[in-house]
Amino acid sequence: MNEKSITIIDPGLLSTVQDTGRYGYQKYGVPVSGAMDNFSLRAANLLVGNTTDSACIEMTIVGPSIKFNYPAVISITGGNLSMELDGAKINNWSSIQVETGSVLKSDGAQDGMRAYLAIKGGINVPVIMGSKSTYIPASFGGFKGRALIAGDTLLINNSDVEPIQEERNLPEGLQVVHYGHSHIVRVTLGPQHNKFTSEAIKTFFDSRYSVSSNCDRVGYRLTGPQLQHESSADIISDGTQFGSIQVPSDGNPIILMADRGPTGGYAKIGTVISADLNLIAQSRPGDSIVFRQVSVKEAESAFFEQETFLYLMNPKLFKNAPEKVRTTLSKNSSSILSLIDNDTKNKPLTIATANIKGKIFNFEISIESN
């Protein structure tokens, strides 16, 4: 076969083509979709030399069996689905060379819920409304608008990025090695927290919630102490966001995820911060979640910390790289600090520069002094 391709031998439980999401079409009622765990998808891409928004395969609980019809470079990030290459265990969070004819297999989830397979060059599927993401309910995007099935052959794009000479790994402190079954998730209040009794807000942050079996790409239904509304659960339908926590009249919170409808009619008590959305995406039925209230400013810092990490992995491939970014990191952001060499670590301001096609991008990182 001349073209670069992979063949699905067994699709696993639910394998779909996803990228960073379909933005710009919510006004037409089109859900954003994209990776449930965006952070892992983007890291997977960077590890194989793809731009962060390249299309990957999102694998769920039991991953697929895939045959490679050409020598490829791949990476797997996110949950540990016990992936094996020709029978030998392989590690997440690193780039791996694959020979022609090799078979990738999954032995089922050890940890987490979803993993991302990035292939150097990215998966070649048509762009529908600006994105390669699959939205199954309306049968569009991704590979033929559906989940992958046995016998599908997917084309892989050529890549002009230089071949990777050696295996790339994420620095030690940055690898998400274990999601576990108990998650602390940070939440900002609102936008409709005033629709709830003050008792309900206290209960929400003081209690332990459990992920129900009703959890999919649209939303995660939780069980636990029920939350009382001041008068009614209904609002005049308005926009939703990835991580919006809506509470219908039965008092059980639902976290809205990648395939959520753009609008909804239930009061939203809070919003999961961007940096912690991956924890929800990786949680399984029966896992416990404790919500911790943070300010929007703290949520922003956490986001910048994640972005800084991805940016420093490979500034050239970082999509939407700004000309100048100022971020403030807390001193205990050990994960990021490990990327910055010791010499500059103790200075108040570190400037990372990247030369992208002759244009200089500045990255200023200030580290909180206390």
Binding site: G29, V30, I236, D238, G239, T240, I273, F303, E307
Partner: protein, 248 residues
Amino acid sequence: MVPTITSVGDQALLVEFEDSISIKTNNSVKNLMAQIEENQEEWVVDLVPSYRSLIVMFNPMLSERTYIKNYLLKLIEKSKNVDQSLYKLIKIPTLYGSDFGMDLEFVAKHNNLTSEEVISLHSALNYRIYMIGFAPGFPYLGGLNQKLITPRLDSPRLKIPGGSVGIAESQTGIYPNDSPGGWQLIGRTPLNLFDPHSEQPSLLITGDYIKFEPLESIEAYFDIRNDVESNNYKPEIHMLDIEPKSHE
């Protein structure tokens, strides 16, 4: 009410104009959205308009929350003085009754009307599109004639064909694609409301108006349907400089 701007997590702001449904409020949403789209700022990730509010999703790497808040406040102020643009009225040819609107007789009986009266009341008015949501291309329409109010089905149907026109309580709407649903079906339009391969994938958008046009026969339905399927159909669209009359 003065518009308020609040945070929805760390990457979105919610602009709320009122806590009630009115065409005036929905026009404010529509106007602000139009202005933001016109400016094409690189930090805008997406916009989600609804009855009375607009979510502005932004990329925090490319701008900053306080700046965006002030930017939006200025635009809101400016959009107050902007002349109302033209109003778009889209005709929706609809075959009422028979197998295409199997609940027409139920709706008639429930309201002590004849089927003909239901059709004439339902198609007499223009309907305002307040927002598109729930499913791709699904329009939330302004008020139904009070004489047509009918409860939902006791148990939702598993598959409703795309194009179905239905009534649920005091709302009327059109299912753009095949989907499950509990609305009383009174007719079907041969038009495609949603096409993921089109540049503007949804025929209808927030702030437009529609008017149902009863079709005379099943032949008329299939004539249009054939044209739609072979891409030869152009929807009848009128641009009006005064706001079409409708129920709020």
